[in-house]
Amino acid sequence: MTVDFEIDENLAFVRDYVRAFARDTLRPLAREADEKGKLPTETIKQLGTFAGNRASIMPEENKGNGEKRSSIAAMMAVIGSEELAWGDPAVVLNIPGPGLAAPSIRAAGTPEQQKRFLDDIFNVDSGEPRFGALAVTEPQAGSDVSNVQTTAVQDGDEWVLNGTKMYCTNGARAEIVVVNATVDKSLGRQGQKFFVIEKGAPGFKVGKIEKKMGLTASETAELILDDCRIPFDNILGGAEALEPKGSGFKGTMKAFDSSRPSVAAMALGIGRAAFEYARDWVSSELPMNTSFPRKAAIEQKLGRMKRELDAARGLVWQAAWMADNKIPNSKEASMAKAYAPPAGLRACIGAIQIMGPEGYSKEHLVEKWFRDIKVYDIFEGTGQIQRVVISRKILGRLD
């Protein structure tokens, strides 16, 4: 119960373990994966074997339903996330597991649903890589999730879903995709419920796979629900979810409060990768005849990069520490998510500039990290949305 910035030995062990995996396994795959836009199936299988083909190679953050949450789960998640993203942020997203389907199912699913959609699919040794996905965004609804147009209509013992989802990570190859859809438009966001679509459901189609600025090795899919039929039981929370006080949209989305520090930690990891790369380049490759003013500017830039990345880590750890200590952290989680991606982006741009023509060259990874990191200020709540959350916590609702 006193201010202490040292992580305990459990966390240090996880950090060192994940760091070695990131360095030895993820980083060597980075360039080829970026160029090809995907990883070889065999590699994905190996990653799956390493990770035990389950949620992630880190302990699950929230077991939900009475299972006791570890008091360092959030710290472990952010420390692991930073290291993994340092290895390669796109390759990480190819590690098989339920991905973002897990927190929503853990938060809103019945015990039977948790078993059926998570344990039975992901916590078994199938020998095959298996993915889960979450699809919320639609062409006309990004930050404004209340504008989601996908509908779900009950038809006997089935739901019929219609709509288009986009930007869904691993959506095309997922065993299960969690989607939100409106059952009652008049209720606004509270009329939205979450549903689990299983691979092969009738009327479930994969649209285009996006070509992105970065994170190219991560599959980003458009999903089309064209009279897509799923069992009635696939509504998260079961029939009770339809009651007025049933598991609503807001409650389920709360599960993602815990993911904001981890996303921020990933951006921090990417930024740190760029900083360290530039630092090492400067110590071994900086031309001898570099002018004094340029050398001085390089030093200043490197120092600022380190200062800001360490400050970002402070914010990330603060948010995680609060979560672990059951202190409400919505504001602080958003602060970490608002600060770390731009700080990491500045580090990437700084690294490119310091290295000059080698910085923008594809011979080095810094140009890739720059392309990769930009989206961290956009997905999982844009920087602007984080500032809306933060300012509402400070000022209250004024509009």
Partner: protein
């Protein structure tokens, strides 16, 4: 011990006490002291009596000492009341911390009891130099045995100090010379500053012999502590601007609603909050390292850089959120902005701090 950001009960209690003191005593005193260009003796005495600005161990008649994290919590709270008064009072007392940490038995027995008296001791620790980068290695002031020679700026109390400590470089590294009374140095000129006016400072020329403090890691950590004082004050200064602007944003209306309803305002408020937390965490981290005897100059430079950036940013945005009202002296935000920019001269990240942070990563 695991990562932890929980203050102890004692620290929480101290913070609450100082917060109340800041609101009740320092806020009303801020403008008068600024206009008088000094912290009034009465105010100085009242802060001194709180026992946080010049801690003296009990064996030397004081109320006891505390760690650097506690000091930074206290300094932030006092600076939240007024950065100028905080700078004067904290800066006048910090020689006690240096003596307590780095003095030999004789120094402690002879000099520390003075700080335990109800009357504050006019004293200083002189560090800043115009031409240096700000790190220990680039100090120009030279110390040879008990002799010191060099020029410092931003020196508090120089016109009537009864005790002063000068930091400089010895052939082996960091050194510090203690002067008693105000012989041994010349006040080159009083500095007529645009901010922190409640803390009158002087440019001082040193060229004489005093008493050397024992060199070594203790001295280094003590000097880093004195430097970190700037960062801790900067966090309080930033928070003052932020809280004032946030409150104003909920009250002032434009186009039919509180201006905080407009994102051009509310997002600035959010950014101010982010900068402040990032700064405070950096300062606490450096303080925690000082308490473990492990701090480097880069740790403190990083913390000060983050904190001074926060103070300047919040100072600027604080005025901007209030618009014309921010620019006139009816509101305090213009003062905090001037204070912040003045503070930033003591350890500017762009003109040194970031550079030796970078140098430290190649070590």
């Amino acid at each position: 011990m695991p990562f932890d950001l929980q203050l102890t009960e004692e620290q929480e209690a101290l913070k609450a006490t100082l917060h109340e003191f800041s609101e009740d005593v320092l806020r009303p005193a801020a403008r008068p002291c600024e206009e008088a260009k000094e912290t009034s003796p009465d105010i100085h005495r009242q802060v001194h009596e709180l026992g946080v600005t010049a801690p003296v161990p009990e064996e030397f008649g004081g109320g006891g000492t505390f760690d650097c994290v506690t000091y930074c919590v206290a300094a932030e709270e006092l600076a939240f009341g007024d950065p100028g008064i905080a700078y004067q009072v904290l800066g006048s007392g910090i020689a006690a911390i240096v003596l307590g940490l780095a003095g030999d038995d004789d120094h402690k027995a002879r000099l520390l009891p003075r700080f335990a008296e109800p009357e504050p001791v006019p004293s200083f620790v002189a560090y800043g130099e115009k031409v240096a980068l700000g790190d220990l290695e680039s100090l120009e002031t030279a110390i040879d045995a008990d002799k010191v020679r060099g020029e410092k700026y931003g020196v508090l109390n120089a016109s009537d100090a009864s005790l002063g400590i000068v930091v400089g470089r010895t052939p082996d590294g960091l050194g510090a010379i203690v002067f008693e009374g105000n012989d041994g140095y010349d006040v080159a000129k009083p500095e007529n500053k645009m901010g922190l006016e409640a803390a009158p400072t002087y440019a001082v020329r040193f060229d004489d012999a005093g008493e050397a403090l024992p060199a070594g890691p203790q001295l280094e950590q003590a000097i880093l502590w004195t430097k970190l004082m700037t960062g801790a004050i900067a966090v309080g200064c930033a928070r003052a601007s932020f809280e004032h602007a946030a409150k104003y944003a909920t009250e002032r209306e434009a186009f039919g609603k509180p201006i905080g309803a407009f994102q051009a305002i509310s997002h600035r408020i959010a950014d101010m909050a982010i900068e402040i937390d990032a700064a405070r965490l950096s300062v606490w981290r450096a303080a925690w390292k000082i308490d473990r005897g492990e701090a480097t100059h880069a740790d403190v430079a990083q913390a000060n850089g983050q904190a001074l950036q926060a103070a300047s940013y919040c100072g600027d945005e604080g005025v901007q959120v209030l618009g014309g009202h921010g620019y006139i002296r009816d509101h305090p935000v213009e003062k905090w902005f001037r204070d912040a920019v003045t503070l930033s001269v003591f350890d500017p990240p762009e003109l040194g701090g970031d550079t030796f942070v970078a140098r430290s990563v190649f070590a």
